[in-house]
């Protein structure tokens, strides 16, 4: 049996959640005051994911950087790998919102896409 402690992000209450796991399966969630806490806790201990946002260099753009994000959530454990993979990415202007900046980042099957329009100089 394993217990994990989390802070719920559902609302400003910030309930302190205790999750009990048995062989990787959630058997109990306590400390939550609403259903959202239960859902959050189960997902967070079994399959935590995040959207990663960053910005990468633009060549010949009106501004130096274009902001970008993973189109969908990626596993939380891969945040640093994704950040690292974006470190030396450079795209050519013009860039439009939704353009793929880096395809299938770190083999996650998720593309990193531009979140800003950057016109050429």
């Amino acid at each position: 049996m394993e217990t994990r402690h989390l802070t719920c992000i559902g609302c400003p209450m910030g309930c302190q959640l205790t999750v009990t796991l048995e062989n990787g399966e959630v058997t109990d969630v306590t400390g939550n005051t609403c259903k959202r806490g239960d859902i959050y806790a189960r997902k967070e201990v079994t399959n935590p994911t995040r959207i990663v946002t960053s910005s990468v260099r633009v060549k010949n753009g009106k501004i130096a950087m274009v902001s970008c994000k993973t189109r969908e959530d990626i596993p939380k454990g891969m945040i640093f790998d994704v950040a690292k993979a974006l470190e030396n990415v450079c795209v050519d202007a013009p860039v439009a919102i939704g353009d793929v900046v880096l395809a299938n980042v770190c083999g996650t099957g998720v593309d990193v896409i531009a979140t800003k329009n950057v016109t050429a100089k």
């Binding site: 802070t7 400003p12 959207i51 994000k69 939380k76």
Partner: protein
């Protein structure tokens, strides 16, 4: 130059106000923006979480801005970039300047103030020590990293746990910096829970509540920071000092509405919000000058800025077309017992929209309390809240139909009560 409506600021407030004014029949509109693009601070807020209320999806700042910029472009609303407004007169003559037009004036029938806010600076915080390089407001660091492509430093301490500071803790970490600690003067964080978890806990960055910076070392460049715990009087407690070797201090210690221009026009400001005092139409004491967004009061969600600005745009359009209603009765809204302020401050029962959203912040954390609304001494509405915190804006909606039942009403009171 003459325009029906001049909007000062092309951020989320200015953009939404312009769209609403246009959609309400005003064709002669000019937005004046000092930066080189529209969108305001949203352009540097590259993280996601914007627009859940407005668009029912989670957008990044630049994406949220682009949707409103597109609406402005579609409507062919005029705007001037790289242009700084220098003065607004009581008669609504706006003096501005830029590199191509030089100094020029615009006569407007109505003006919407949408200048946003600025960060509290080191000078306003009274932190002792030398003044070396390496001390930035969190927002400045955000612009450097996200738009201009520079890293402000490698080893970072952050003072203040406002959302921008938390977001920058994560951003600097992902860009390879080491964020050593976040110190917060208050016993609670001013940031959203979600940001505490996803920007600090995810990266094992410690948050020290009731702590502040007591010394900055280094003469040319920051070399170290000392923080210490503070007592209930917010004074440092000897013996609790923690020292960090670092090259950078980021400050995320609150936002202040930027009302220098409002003052030139003679607009009355609230000592609590530092923003204009407005009525239900978001009009200031100067006829035809309206205010919305963070220049009015600092918001936590941009969605609410857009809503508020839409109202300001609509009301400015009405004023331009119909002029001011003379002698309209005004009811005062009192903010007491935990409610720090309200926006608007007054309401005109005969002139108001069918419903008016009154927004406010509480002065401390309240658990299991109610928001109570009184018309005179009579309790009209009670709404229970599990938790309220100064970092999250609250609201009460007033109905014109309800107010019509109280023709002799002179004041409304909003307060926090035990449940």
């Amino acid at each position: 130059m003459n325009y029906d409506l001049v909007i000062v600021g092309g951020g989320p407030a200015g953009l939404a106000a312009a769209v609403a004014a246009k959609d309400n029949g005003i064709d002669s509109i000019l937005i004046i923006e000092r930066d080189n693009e529209l969108g305001g601070i949203l352009n540097q807020c590259i993280h996601n979480g914007f627009g859940l209320h407005t668009f029912k999806e989670e957008l990044t700042g630049p994406e949220y801005a682009s949707r409103f910029i597109a609406q402005v472009e579609e409507r062919k609303i005029e705007y001037k970039l790289n242009t700084m407004v220098m003065d607004i007169s009581e008669n609504k003559v706006v003096t501005a300047m830029n590199k191509t037009d030089g100094m020029f004036t615009v006569e407007a029938k109505a003006v919407i103030l949408a200048m946003g806010c600025r960060e509290r600076s080191r000078g306003a915080l009274n932190i002792p020590g030398y003044r070396p390089a390496g001390i930035f407001s969190a927002g400045t660091a955000q612009r450097l990293v996200n738009i201009e492509g520079y890293m402000p430093g490698r080893r970072v301490v952050i003072l203040g746990s406002g959302d921008i500071g938390l977001i920058m803790a994560r951003r600097m970490t992902l860009e390879g910096a080491q964020v050593l600690a976040v110190a917060e003067l208050m016993p609670y964080s001013g940031g959203l829970k979600r940001n505490i978890v996803q920007c600090l806990d995810d990266f094992n960055i410690p948050l020290y509540l009731s702590h502040t910076v007591i010394d900055i070392q280094g003469k040319e460049r920051v070399e170290g920071i000392t923080i210490a715990e503070v007592g209930p009087d917010r004074k440092p407690i000897p013996g609790t000092e923690i020292h960090y070797d670092c090259d950078t201090l980021l400050l995320s210690c609150g936002l202040l509405p930027e009302n220098e221009l409002s003052k030139t026009a003679g607009v009355d400001l609230s000592p609590i919000t530092s923003g204009p005092i407005v009525n239900d139409s978001l009009e200031t004491n100067i006829e035809g000058i309206f205010a919305c967004g963070n220049v009015l009061h600092v918001h936590d969600l941009v969605d609410f800025v857009s809503q508020e600005a839409t109202n300001a745009g609509k009301n400015a359009a009405k004023y331009i077309k119909e002029g001011k209603t003379v002698g309209a009765k005004e009811v005062k809204i009192n903010a007491v017992d935990g409610v720090r302020y309200t926006v608007p401050c007054t309401i005109r029962p005969e002139e108001m929209d069918e419903n008016v959203t009154v927004r406010f912040r509480v002065g401390q954390v309240f658990k299991n309390c109610t928001i109570a609304t009184y018309f005179g001494d009579e309790l009209i509405n009670k709404r229970k809240k599990q938790v309220m915190a100064p970092g999250e804006m609250e609201q009460v909606v007033l109905l014109k139909s309800k107010l019509a039942e109280y023709p002799d009403l002179t004041d409304i009171t909003i307060k926090i009560e035990e449940a």
